[in-house]
Symmetry: D2
Subunit: 340 residues, 4 copies
Amino acid sequence: MTQLRVCVVGTGRAGMVHAENFRWRVPRAELVAVVDSDAARAAEAAASLDLPHAGFTDLTAALAAGPIDAVVITTPTFTHRDLAVEAARAGVHVFCEKPMALTLAECDDIVAACESARVNLQVGFMRRFDPPFVTAKRDLDAGVVGRPVLVRSLTRGPGLPPAWANDVRRSNGMLAEVNSHDFDTVRWLGASDIVEVNAVAAALKRPDMRDSLPDFYDTAVVTAVLANGAFGVIDGVCPADYGYDARAEVVGSAGVLLVGELRDSASLRYTREGGGVSGHYVSWRERFKLAYELEAAEFVDSVQQGRPPRVGGLDGRAAVAAVLAARDSLALKRSVSVEY
Amino acid sequence: MTQLRVCVVGTGRAGMVHAENFRWRVPRAELVAVVDSDAARAAEAAASLDLPHAGFTDLTAALAAGPIDAVVITTPTFTHRDLAVEAARAGVHVFCEKPMALTLAECDDIVAACESARVNLQVGFMRRFDPPFVTAKRDLDAGVVGRPVLVRSLTRGPGLPPAWANDVRRSNGMLAEVNSHDFDTVRWLGASDIVEVNAVAAALKRPDMRDSLPDFYDTAVVTAVLANGAFGVIDGVCPADYGYDARAEVVGSAGVLLVGELRDSASLRYTREGGGVSGHYVSWRERFKLAYELEAAEFVDSVQQGRPPRVGGLDGRAAVAAVLAARDSLALKRSVSVEY
Amino acid sequence: MTQLRVCVVGTGRAGMVHAENFRWRVPRAELVAVVDSDAARAAEAAASLDLPHAGFTDLTAALAAGPIDAVVITTPTFTHRDLAVEAARAGVHVFCEKPMALTLAECDDIVAACESARVNLQVGFMRRFDPPFVTAKRDLDAGVVGRPVLVRSLTRGPGLPPAWANDVRRSNGMLAEVNSHDFDTVRWLGASDIVEVNAVAAALKRPDMRDSLPDFYDTAVVTAVLANGAFGVIDGVCPADYGYDARAEVVGSAGVLLVGELRDSASLRYTREGGGVSGHYVSWRERFKLAYELEAAEFVDSVQQGRPPRVGGLDGRAAVAAVLAARDSLALKRSVSVEY
Amino acid sequence: MTQLRVCVVGTGRAGMVHAENFRWRVPRAELVAVVDSDAARAAEAAASLDLPHAGFTDLTAALAAGPIDAVVITTPTFTHRDLAVEAARAGVHVFCEKPMALTLAECDDIVAACESARVNLQVGFMRRFDPPFVTAKRDLDAGVVGRPVLVRSLTRGPGLPPAWANDVRRSNGMLAEVNSHDFDTVRWLGASDIVEVNAVAAALKRPDMRDSLPDFYDTAVVTAVLANGAFGVIDGVCPADYGYDARAEVVGSAGVLLVGELRDSASLRYTREGGGVSGHYVSWRERFKLAYELEAAEFVDSVQQGRPPRVGGLDGRAAVAAVLAARDSLALKRSVSVEY
């Protein structure tokens, strides 16, 4: 079977995770190019990936240089629309990191371009491929705990994101850059669209950031109401210092599911001083290592099987819609309906 | 040392937990009377407790019958004020189950009566005595995870409460009857008063209850803002079907604490069909068995040592204040400031 | 109902656990006397227990002083036979700490005296009352994991025992003083008598102890064969430094049961430095607090209900038989059949 | 950098795990051939791996057909010596599954051939690459729990092995085929050679197998003494029915390490009926998925870096020596010294 020839755009942290996966770990795919607007970084990435060329500084050049079947877009959110549309118009399948875009209009442009070009569009909600989350979804679908009543989802992570992502005006802030996953999880595990949100947020970890970015926040809680009546609760803390924490909990009409943990291996130790977990997740790279591989495999499989991917453009768009409503709720200090 | 002579008022489920503890398990205390307005139930309780009399049908009669040093009030919330004030005026120490009362004015009456009579007043927030919660508080006070940024607390329990407690107009509803503990936990572990709340609630488990009680709800989420800037998140589901679930989580500026679990013993089993926890908490009686004993011991100790108890009337009052604000938030569909 | 009047003999650590339980925590029992050959310790114990007298220096005096229904024997093992026989001959029910005695002949004397006097005899295998162990036994009896194939049981505890217990010639050593519980657990959960054992032991923690006690050992492993063909594996380490560790595991023909844990509460914490269990068992007093209470309640209940206790003299004797075979295996460096 | 060209010999379950890893998941390696004496199976394997040829029926043919840098030997144990020696003589690096061979003489032949040919020799103790085991080893080396005093290691797995492996005379039995890993773990974590063993074994799960194979056993316990004085305890049950269970525990002079668990993801569920782990390991393929990938990567890295692998021939030989002593202990019904 032909290998899917993949070009990864963006060689930041997420970009390199994808690039390494498509280079080494995804069956029936081949990494053929990397793109970074910084030529030195592009060259460095290409070298570390054993690619036979020096990397490209824009997608246009990469597309021109040789046969590419698919792009993986990992650049800052405000660039997603243009890159995705360009790729789609070139007849290339699109994998787009989350958040899908800054506005619903941008999401619509991407969806329309992909539909028009008849290429696949997958959005990077890798939690949908993480074994604990997959198991929970399977249990929910099997009715093990009845219908969903309350879905909690949280993301807390160490380290501030890059500068642009801290600027709420350029990125929609932490709720978009970090908690997009939680909006998707609430909708996915809750099996219903989010129709209303209420958000609070503050700069509790890094109040100093407000000196230059008055809208900055690092701690947030969002309450959501789903179309089926269930509630959602999301929280985010970033930077969180203590590790990378991504968990969910679903109260159903007949039970509860607890999804995910903070520890990274089953090694416990006890000494006179106390008990400890030997090692815990300190990065999303470790926590979701397998999920990133599996979502990449799904991208390749869905393209090669000529079917839609399990997480598509409308899923990405729904999360953007909920994020925007939460952003408005922060500004208006009241509940806000989600506009789809 | 003299035994503290205790009269338990109310022989419902919580009443019998307290009565059995003071009868059998609390050092330096002696159960001398039980009161229930239903004479048959009073007699049955007295017999099951090996008491030398038949029980009383009102507190007045019990106080008249013989020397009593302390009362434990476990009757419906709307009766707390009158009973506590009567006991205080009789010079008797007061232990009052949660919620302390229906209104702040009632709380004030109880506090004033006890202060005036120079008797102790303790409120039944037994989670403050539960080992996992105590350990978390100790860790917080020791700065193990830094200052609190986000406190989550939940209570989900099986079975509907008695009829009066489902009637929001008589009881303030589930947020009062079930989640009082969580409002106290958020304030206690968050180390700061709750200043604002936003609540959502619905009848997701028992929509049929709304036929007779239009205000009934069984599922709720409350977001809280604390005076120190930290956030609180509370959820409640009752009836929850799957067991008795009381957990908390504190994100601090330097770490996170996870408090409590659903399982009741360290017995795991694995078979071809899967892995299981052999037994989990199905009732608050099992989950907080030790905490109830320890809060009773604290009541006795604080009286005998002539010092205030570790959980007093102002703690009970603060939870009532937050509950009332959450009730108003439900009605007004917006955030509400807590009036103290 | 009449209270069972209890006299505790021995006011060491185990003695005080029992004395406090019968004094404060066991329904329908009354602590009426304590005995210690050291008059000052007897007096101190009596005072700390709020007893109205100064304690006794021998059982004979206590029995003479007033009505006693039952004794609890917690003195060194080599004294058990004489005390138990004296109590039985006085018509008093006997609770005897483990190990029951040093030899099978001593065990036989105790059993015979109690049978002859028609008094109850219970042996202090409190693990049979510990919730995780009880749950495992219930699951086994219900066939959840099939018939037992392999039973592992371990005890590791901090701190050296008192001097006499380190002297193998006076106490039968750690396998008797510490691992008696494990021999009982293997037989109880394995549902079959131990017929053969093979033991290895060494002084790996405290080799210095061998200077004065050449037979001393602090680490041991015993393999056992049960009459039903199942295997048992026991290990012991004392002193263990890291806490008090008592766990078991049963492989059945259709599953496995894991029994017990090292942690004492469900408080977890994570910081940048790692994850931790906030608190773990540092003493058998904490680990088996509830089990000690429950075995005391069983002692009272079985006497008052006129039925044999759930753990009797033959259970104590069977553990002694297995311990003696393991002791011989150490000396002979080969497998040894258990003589019953 | 050049890709390591790998030929996998044997297309059974372990063979296919390795073949798929070298085909898809191991950086800088390339699967170039598979060998199976059954031509149809070889062809099927080659097809499922997208290889451009039909597979080979013997190693000689594969070596002749084209450039091969390394072989991975996964055939029955009794074939290891000849295959490894042939590969080494062809100047090809050797990865050999466990157990390394049937006798020490065979091990010596393999070691000598690889040394003589200056090719790498790695033995398939993949637990040394499993994150929980690696973490435990790291903690041990860092002195977190002091020096090892007692090491427990167990393997219990579902399903009978292939027929030859049940025949003790052809395979050395379960202690070799299943528990080789445990002998290696005891030696590795105990940081010392095994000098004496005592074993018991029986056919408790499948007594019917003894009709045709009188030496067959499915349940075993081995006690080991290490050169440094520490003890080891190994148990094995196969078939175990309940899943794939591989855990270890190290008691050190200052603490304890618990390594591994039975569950495969952090999904818990609670319903009225009880609590459960959603999914647990049912096969070594799932349990050690990552470990197999990591040991394969180590094989490639060590060859390409011109250094010895982290698990070499002498490690494999030491496990065989301990297994043979355990086999003799079963026959002689006494402790047996390990001959190296």
